[in-house]
Structure formats: C-alpha cells, structure tokens
C-alpha cells in the first residue's frame, strides 16, 4: 500500500450506473502495482476537507453526482464489492469536467490501461515528503472567502502551512449559491475550522503585503514588519461589487447574502444576462435556481433578459420549464439593452427578439451576472507586479489545488476564482483537458469526438467576402486589410464552427475538423 490513490474524475451528466462493472474494475485495480485504490472523485467544492482526510481511511471512495447518490448507485455497488458502510464514502463530484463513460466495447480491458497511465500522469515520480522542498512549502492565501478558506483547509490537510490574509468585502461567491441557501452558516463553519487548524494562520484583515519574488518562491513583508517566505500564492479574492444600496444592482452573491441574512428582496427583479459576454450554461442554471427561489420564497416578480435560454446542461430544461410555469418572464433581447442608470434608478430599453415587441422597464432591482469568469483582474495585476508568466487563464479548483501545489511545487500564482464561477472560466484547464482526451481516445473508438479549437483561415482560398464577419454571433471574425483575408479574434471566439460552415469559399477550418479529415471521418463512419 504505497498510499497512492488513483483518481478517476467522473462527470455525473453522462455516467451510467449499469455501464461500469465495479467488481471487475476493483479486481483489476487490485492486480495493478501502481494503483492500490480506486477513487472516483466528485465535486468536492464544499466537502474538500472531509474528502481529503476521508481518502486516507477508506478503501473505496465513490464520488458521483447527487443523481447517483439518490438512485442508490453507491449502496448497490458497495454491497456487490462486499464493503461495509464504514469503509466507503460517497461524496459530490464536479459536474461536466469530463465525459468519461460512453457506449464502448471491452471497457474493462481499456480502463485498466488508462488507470495505469493516470497513475504516472497525476503522481509522477515526485516524492510526497521531499524534505528539501518543505521549506518553501508555506503558501499565502490572499482572500478569506469561500474559495480562500476551502483552499487553505485543503492545503493544511496535506501538511502544508498556510497563511490566510483576511480581506474585507462579501465573503460568499456566486459559485456556492445553492449550498449557501441550504446552509447559511457554511462560511462561518469553514472559518471556525480554519481557526482551529494549527497549520493555518489567519492574518488580521488590515495586514497589507508587498511580495517580492525570491529564488523558489516569494518574500512577503507584512505591515506588521516581519517578513515570511512562501512557496506559492493563492489568489482568491471574491468579486468586488458595489453594494446594492448604491448601485441598485445585486450580484447573485449579494442577493443570497441578503436572503441568507433574512432581508426581503421584493418588487420587480430583472436578471440581465449576456450583456458583456456569453453566459455559461452553468451560470444560467444558477440564475434559474435564484429566480425560482426569489419567486417562491420572496414573491418577487422576476424577469430574465438573455440572448438565449442556455438549457444545454442536463436537468436545466425541467428547471427552465418550471420557472416559466411559475410566471418568470424570459425576454430574449438581441441587440444591447440601453441602461440609463443614474444613482440606482435604472431604465432598461430594448427589443424582445422573439415577439419583436419593444420593452421598457423602469427602476428594477438588477442582478448583473458576470459572463465568462476568466482570471480575476486583481490576480492579473499581482502577477504583473511579480513579473510572473501566467499560464493562460489558469483558474484552479479547490479540489485539484492541493495536487497542483503538491505535485509541482512550482512558484506561481494560482488564480482561484469562486468555486462555481471559475469552473465556468476554467473550461479548458490543461490538466483535466489532457486527461479527458487520454480517456476519450481509449474508451470510445466508435464516435469521433471533436475538441473545440479556434478556426484557421486559409489565406489562398479566402475570397475576402466577409460573410464570416457578418454571421459570427460573437463578433469574433474581423477583416484583416493587410492580409486581405478574414481574421479570428481568439478572445471572443467560441469555436462553434459556424463561420466554417457558412464560408462560401470553404476557406475556414476548425483545426481537427479540417475538410480532409472531416470527410475521411465521415466516410469511415458511413462505410
């Protein structure tokens, strides 16, 4: 038992109970030298501390999704593996990180090979208790909100000492909306636990810190005068929004803060989506949850303004229909809504794309939902200040943070947005993306799954007719007068492939959807 768990991330949307024969899986794990236990990790957002400490004691940890828990998948499988209740733990799983199980033939043989490679991929050769690196193992967590505390507890449980720099502002994040509703004291519990853990030091909120990079980490002189060395900084500020009283606009977080504190949010509430960026389906589902809650409990009149009903996530369709039956009005506006806002009194004007009727809403309470949650601006600034090269939009999740720091121990700034929000922003994080592809290739030879990639314009055949510029719903295509061809604005592009289909000269290709291998792929399928 060399204490190395094998982690298989399972996405609840597509994980089918009767697809995986757990007995044979457990047997194949037992035979393997690299892996000694099968850990199927779930969304540990709330339960990170228990998750990590529990892993040590349990033989098998099931981590699926609430759906799997409800339909008894875990109990049934545990009985088949003759494991007593004390020996297994069922916890939440991160939704739609991976599409693991599809209809495949001969899954057992392939899974074992995959698990082997997973072992190396995740745990490599780095010795867990490499003393030399310990000195630089202390981590500064900048932000004591949900994400910051979760991260601190996660690191502490791995034997890493953590300083948490208190920050003011609203502690909770949109990411933990549902949980906060069921358990308003969630944040306070986390803070108490952090206070009791001797490896975590909560610095007073006033402590200012100006970090300077040193070999292998950072030297930070806090306002109290003493300087401490840190291996990494975890930047986890909660998004700073002006308080609703001033701006008249709530973020979802503030709304839940209001509700959690028992204050009423009555009258007409307008949820304004897609104004400055596309709303992720996950965020749309949170909005539906919030809207339903506002209507049911607060008897508020809710209007949702959005470009489209993003119900492409399982389970969202019923929620969406239920909201509509409750009388929540969905207005589909196409062009930007003009918001004449003085001090708190908003007037919303626009055209409803479906009924093409104009609408004017005066003085609503507005929920402004951020679009794609990329790297928090403060993190970029800090990274810039420390002259650190940021690896793209790396926003880590609490669950894999301790692995990142633990496995790599690289000096770096890990920007951690709020748990759910940053998950939306972290769609293509390298570690899980490469993992997904590795599993995907082995497990489903039948269907060809296309990764999303930014399109490429073929300069010779592009007729410079600008059709792509006109049809792109995200304004991601623009004309390049120098090259006299179309050009992709990668930041805005969603890689949906519409331009490639509409292009009259067939000059645009999504990298592995190129016309040649696309045609070959089709032919292979059809023959």
């Amino acid at each position: 038992m060399n204490g190395k768990p094998a982690v298989v991330l399972c996405s609840h949307a597509r994980c089918a109970p009767n697809l995986i024969d757990m007995e044979r899986l457990a047997a194949s794990v037992a035979k393997s030298e690299v892996l000694d236990r099968l850990v199927v990790l779930e969304e540990p957002c709330r339960a990170v501390p228990e998750t990590l400490t529990a892993i040590r004691k349990r033989k098998v940890v099931f981590a699926g999704c609430p759906l799997l828990k409800e339909n008894g998948f875990y109990e049934q499988t545990a009985r088949r593996l003759v494991i007593s209740r004390a020996d297994w733990l069922a916890i939440n799983l991160k939704a739609d990180v991976l599409d693991l199980y599809q209809e495949t033939k001969g899954i057992e043989g392939t899974v074992c090979a995959v698990l082997e490679s997973l072992g190396q991929l995740l745990y490599g050769t780095q010795a867990a208790n490499d003393t030399a690196a310990v000195a630089h193992r202390r981590v500064l967590v900048y932000g004591s909100g949900m994400s910051g505390l979760t991260a601190a507890l996660g690191l502490a449980s791995e034997g890493i000492s953590v300083d948490v720099m208190e920050t003011d502002g609203c502690p909770a994040s949109p990411g933990c909306l549902g949980e906060l509703l069921q358990n308003p004291r969630l944040l306070d519990d986390l803070r108490d636990k952090a206070r009791r853990d001797e490896r975590i030091l909560l610095l007073p909120s006033g402590a200012r810190a100006d970090p300077t990079p040193v070999e292998g980490g950072f030297l930070i002189r806090s306002s109290g005068g003493d300087a401490r060395e840190y291996g990494s900084i975890v930047f986890a500020p909660e998004r700073r929004e002006t308080p609703p009283e001033e701006s008249g606009a709530f973020t979802l977080t503030q709304l839940y803060g209001y509700m959690a504190s028992g204050r009423a949010v009555g009258g007409r509430v307008v949820v304004l989506l897609d104004r400055d960026g596309e709303t992720e389906p996950e965020v749309f589902r949170d909005v539906l949850l919030a809207a339903a809650h506002l209507t049911r409990r607060m008897q508020a009149e809710v209007l949702v303004l959005c470009r489209n009903a993003r119900v492409s996530l399982a389970g969202t369709q019923e929620l969406y229909d239920e909201c509509r039956q409750m009388g929540i009005l969905f207005i589909r506006y196409r062009d930007t809504v003009s918001v004449a806002s003085g001090y708190g009194d908003f007037v919303l004007r626009g055209i409803d794309d479906h009924t093409s009727a104009a609408f004017v809403i005066e003085k609503p309470k507005i929920l402004v939902i951020p679009g794609r949650m990329g790297l928090a601006p403060e993190a970029r600034a800090l990274a810039g200040a420390l002259a650190l090269r940021l690896e793209g939009d790396r926003a880590a999740q609490p669950d894999c943070l301790w692995r990142e720091v633990n496995a790599t121990n690289r000096a770096g700034v890990f920007a951690m947005g709020d748990a759910r929000g940053s998950r939306a922003g972290a769609e293509l994080r390298e570690s899980s993306a490469s993992l997904a592809r590795a599993i995907q290739e082995r497990l489903s030879p039948g269907g060809i799954r296309i990764e999303e990639h930014i399109p490429v314009v073929n300069k010779e055949t592009c007729a410079y007719c600008l059709t792509c510029v006109r049809v792109c719903p995200f304004g991601a295509m623009e004309k390049d007068p120098v090259e006299r061809t179309a050009k992709v604005r990668a930041s805005a592009c969603r890689a949906c492939g519409l331009c490639a289909a509409e292009c009259p000269a067939q000059a645009i290709e999504i990298r592995n959807l190129g016309s040649t291998n696309l045609r070959a792929g089709m032919q292979a399928l059809v023959r």
Binding site: T461, A463, C465, T467, R470, V471, E502, C503, P504, A505, Q506
Partner: protein
Amino acid sequence: MIVAEQKPIQEILAALPEVDNLLVAGCDTCVTVCMAGGDKEARVLCAAIRMSGKKIRNVETVSIERQCDREFLSELSDKVSRADVVLSMACGAGVQMLSDFFPATIVQPALNTLFMGSTEEAGYWLERCLGCGDCSLELTAGICPKTRCSKGLMNGPCGGSVGGKCEVDPKSLDCGWDLIYKRLKSLGRIERLMDIQPPRNWSRAHDGRPRSVIRKDVRL
C-alpha cells in the same frame, strides 16, 4: 459585383446529355461571394448529379480563381480535355469565355446571371446598376432611378408609390423614387426634383450596340 443564382436542379439535369465524363467547373470570385457557383456549390452540385439517375460515368469538380481570364482557364486544359461536357458554374461571361477557350467541348451554364449589385447583408444581394453607360447619379443623390424604379422613370415617383413601396410589390420592394425623395430632402436639395430631366441617351447602353472598352495606351 456580379450576382447570380443557381438554376433549379431539374433544369440542369434535364439539359445535361448522358455522357461518360462531366466536369463541374466552379469560379472563386463573384459567384463564390454570392454563394451561387463557388467551390462549395460545385461540390454540392457534383454530389447531386452523381446521386441522380443520370447515367454519367464519372463526375469531377474543380474550381479556379476566375473563368473570365484566359490565364486561369488554361489551368483547366487537362481536365477539360478528358471531359465530354463541362458544366460551368461561372456567370454568363465565364461560361462564354470557357466556350471560346475550349471550342471543341460542350459547355453548359449552371447559373442564371442576374445583375450588378451589392451585398446588403449575409445572404441578401440587391441590384444597384444597369450598366447604361450614361450615369446620372449626381441628380438623384446617389440612388439610380433606372435600376431601383420598376419603370426606370427619370421624373418619378409614379402614381403607384404608396408607403414608400412600389406597386409591383407593395410588401417588400422599395420605391426607388421614394428613397431619392427622402435622401434629397434630408440633404436639403429637394428643389432639384423640380427640374425636368430630358429623355436619356440610351445609345451608350446595350441599346446602342454590344459594347467593349479598349484602352489604346494599354492594348498595343
């Protein structure tokens, strides 16, 4: 640019003789931009012909930059030599140029060439110019009455202009003269409409003779 539309597939198939080798030739300039005869449409048409009942042994498709320049047409020489019939998806000019360049081969059009016009938005092209050879756009604030008015009047609008629409299609066809009136009014030059325009000189249009332009300084 030149705007054209593909002939209905039944017409194309009906006109196609049942030969051994058919070459579908696309054109990558104007007819690509107006989505009538580019590489994309050539591949679709080629697939349709192959799957239709026509007994044509093999159907090949190729697309060149422009079919209205001999230098590009020469690129087709080997493929055309192997083909019994060439179905040209270029505008009328391209089809005729192809026929001139390969006199021994049967060349058939796949498109109906329509007009010189503009791309109003993706998928919407509008006729803007007749090519009358005697432009008077300065009189009508940049809107051509000969093209945009169903009757090509020079002293419009006629009695059938209602709600800014032409009597020929009151739902969707803008009355050219209504547009002219509104723009002249916004430019504050409405009195120009009072001067009576004399009959046009049509001899410079096709009515005069089939036309050509020769620059003696360039063509030695």
